[in-house]
């Protein structure tokens, strides 16, 4: 099996006349954590939407886990093993933690079409195991998540990825709306993912966070990948220069 978990070749997305993403060549190795940075509208989210199946690319290839994929929806991407923590958390406020974790892929005691009997006990146990990985305090697992804090909710969203055997985790600005302590909690989870050898794509605007957590930084600008930098070879100023366009992609080669 190849060392590469995800590769895109010439990935392109046009919205009408707008070239939101042009010719993105991107690779991610197993166990590697990569940050995607760039200004608003640089193409980061567009890129993620293509590889998570939320949108279908205009052109280009996505090779995931050695197989060329054309996801026609986010569920297909999830089934293939790509777990995404979206910016707007995909959680149902009126459900408790286990129900949210297993939303759309419940465990059953007895299969009977839509009226399959839920295996609540197994889901509760799996939830405890998943949340133990994240080291987060939750008031009660059987309460609805409506009155949980932003950090707790974010952790529930992230624990969803831990509850299933994902091959790749993508987080779209996971700490954008969080306080200091909560941000620390989420960053801790990301470190445990690293220790577990799970590959991660992290979209973030936070320079400190990126340098703290990842191995490699990919910079998007105007729909193109303009830099692909190993953390050791670069610094904040350098990255900002690429983001703003003060420095252009002369040093860039497809990794």
């Amino acid at each position: 099996m190849s060392d590469i978990i995800l590769e895109t070749r010439g990935l392109t997305k046009h919205y009408g006349g707008v070239h939101a993403l042009s010719d993105a060549n991107f690779t991610l190795r197993r166990g590697e954590h990569v940050a995607i940075m760039g200004d608003n509208g640089a193409g980061k989210s567009t890129f993620v939407r293509q590889i998570t199946g939320v949108e279908q690319p205009t052109r280009g290839q996505i090779i995931f886990d050695g197989v060329e994929q054309a996801f026609d929806g986010p569920i297909k991407a999830r089934e293939a093993g790509i777990e995404t923590v979206f910016q707007n958390l995909a959680l149902a406020d009126d459900l408790d933690v286990p129900s949210n974790l297993f939303l759309g892929r419940e465990k059953f005691r007895f299969k009977l079409g839509p009226f399959s009997i839920l295996d609540k006990k197994a889901m509760l146990e799996a939830t405890k195991a998943a949340l133990e990985k994240t080291a987060v305090k939750i008031p009660s697992l059987s309460n609805t998540i409506r009155n949980m804090s932003g950090g707790q909710r974010q952790c529930v969203a992230i624990a969803r990825t831990a509850a299933f055997k994902s091959k790749l985790v993508i987080m779209d600005e996971p700490t954008a709306a969080l306080g200091v302590q909560e941000t620390a909690q989420v960053e801790n989870i990301i470190r445990t993912l690293k220790e577990a050898g799970e590959p991660l794509i992290l979209i973030s605007h936070n320079m400190r966070q990126v340098f703290d957590l990842v191995d490699r930084i990919v910079v998007f600008r105007r729909g193109r990948i303009v830099a692909n930098l190993r953390k050791e070879d670069t610094d904040g100023q350098d990255v900002v220069a690429y983001i703003t366009g003060a420095k252009t992609g002369s040093e860039y080669e497809a990794a």
């Binding site: 986010p74 149902a92 406020d93 009126d94 419940e106 839509p114 009226f115 133990e132 994240t134 801790n188």
Partner: protein, 356 residues
């Protein structure tokens, strides 16, 4: 907020923080309203609302009254079970009362008996062939009517993206028209004995309670139930999580339609006749029962237990007003006030939660 804990095994949760079941409040309201009638009765009428005061009867409670309390809400209660799952999944169903009317007319036409006191049935809709059919025929025909109406509701809402309010409003008007058209406004009467036995005596209560238990289990223990809450809570998230939201909605409205049809069967059997105006306003009573029982009109919250308690509150109020010999006008006015009050309480509860 708790301090951030690091490392593996930081999961802690406090069982004391487990939320109270919201049905508790509804139950307390039921007790309170009942107690109020008891008190007013003792003070002003010199009679008890709940307890037996007749010397010649040996019983603690006034059983005839208790039976009537639940009997008079059983049929609308059956509809309310369907409406509950519709509202929980984020929709609304205004068509159930009209479905009752149309289904009752059509069902009764297949349940007629050929001879009434030795004479041919004066209300016969079809010829000889449709007379004295086995009871299963009208029941199946009736349920198919409800299924069809619900299916149309669900398909309109899921695939044309019409708001549920409009789709079911259309069905409400259509089905009422259909029930008038069916026999040119004439009542359909004289069912077979076996059909008449469906809604006899306390049978409506038995049917209502059995269905309530069944739907309680469905909503709390099955995938179907879980997805109702999920879709009502966050439809977008449910879609992204891989729930087939459209299929689910079709199923939800279809089941609501079948339950309305069951109510029609019980009602027409109990009354031994079907009339085009049957079930008028039942949809609103059913919605009111659910709302009083704590089912949130915003979706995602509520339970069958709550709706059953809401139905009982309804029954207690109607019986209480009869007991106090007050006009029916007051009943309507108080019912209206209680519905609004229940929704206001729901809003407050939500705001309280939002503040944390």
């Amino acid at each position: 907020m708790s301090k951030a804990s690091h490392g593996i095994g930081g999961l802690t949760y406090d069982p004391a923080k487990k939320a109270k079941p919201p049905e508790l409040n509804v139950f307390l309201a039921l007790v309170l309203i009942t107690a109020a009638f008891e008190l007013i009765g003792r003070l002003f009428m010199g009679d008890s609302f709940l307890f037996n005061t007749r010397e010649n009867v040996d019983a603690i409670f006034n059983w005839p009254r208790l039976n009537i309390i639940i009997l008079q809400v059983s049929i609308v209660g059956i509809i309310a079970l369907g409406v509950t799952q519709v509202i929980i999944s984020g929709g609304i169903d205004l068509s159930s009362g009209s479905i009752v009317g149309a289904t009752a007319m059509i069902t009764m036409s297949f349940a007629q008996t050929a001879l009434v006191n030795g004479n041919p049935n004066p209300k016969a809709i079809f010829g000889e062939w449709a007379m004295d059919l086995p009871v299963l025929v009208p029941v199946v025909v009736g349920m198919c009517c409800g299924l069809l109406a619900g299916l149309v509701n669900g398909a309109l809402i899921a695939y044309t993206r019409i708001p549920p309010f409009i789709a079911t409003l259309g069905m409400m008007v259509f089905a009422r028209g259909a029930s008038r058209w069916w026999s040119n406004g004439n009542p359909v009467s004289f069912p077979t004995e076996s059909y008449a036995s469906i809604g006899k005596g306390m049978m409506p209560v038995v049917i209502f309670v059995s269905l309530a238990i069944l739907f309680h289990l469905i909503l709390s223990q099955t995938k179907y139930g879980k997805h109702c809450y999920a879709i009502g809570s966050n439809e977008q998230a449910s879609r992204m999580s891989g729930i087939k939201v459209n299929n689910h909605k079709v199923l939800v409205y279809t089941i609501a339609g079948i339950l309305a049809a069951l109510a029609a069967i019980v009602l027409s059997s109990k009354n031994l006749t079907a009339q085009a105006g049957m079930g008028m306003m039942y949809e609103l009573d059913a919605i009111a029962m659910a709302v009083i029982g704590g089912v949130s009109l915003q979706g995602g919250r509520g339970s069958i237990l709550g709706t059953v308690l809401g139905a009982l509150i309804f029954g207690v109020i109607i019986s209480g007003f009869t007991f106090l010999k007050l006009d029916a006008y007051y009943q309507e006015m108080v019912k209206g006030a209680i519905i609004v009050g229940a929704v206001v309480l729901d809003q407050w509860r939500q705001q309280g939660r939002a503040k944390g």
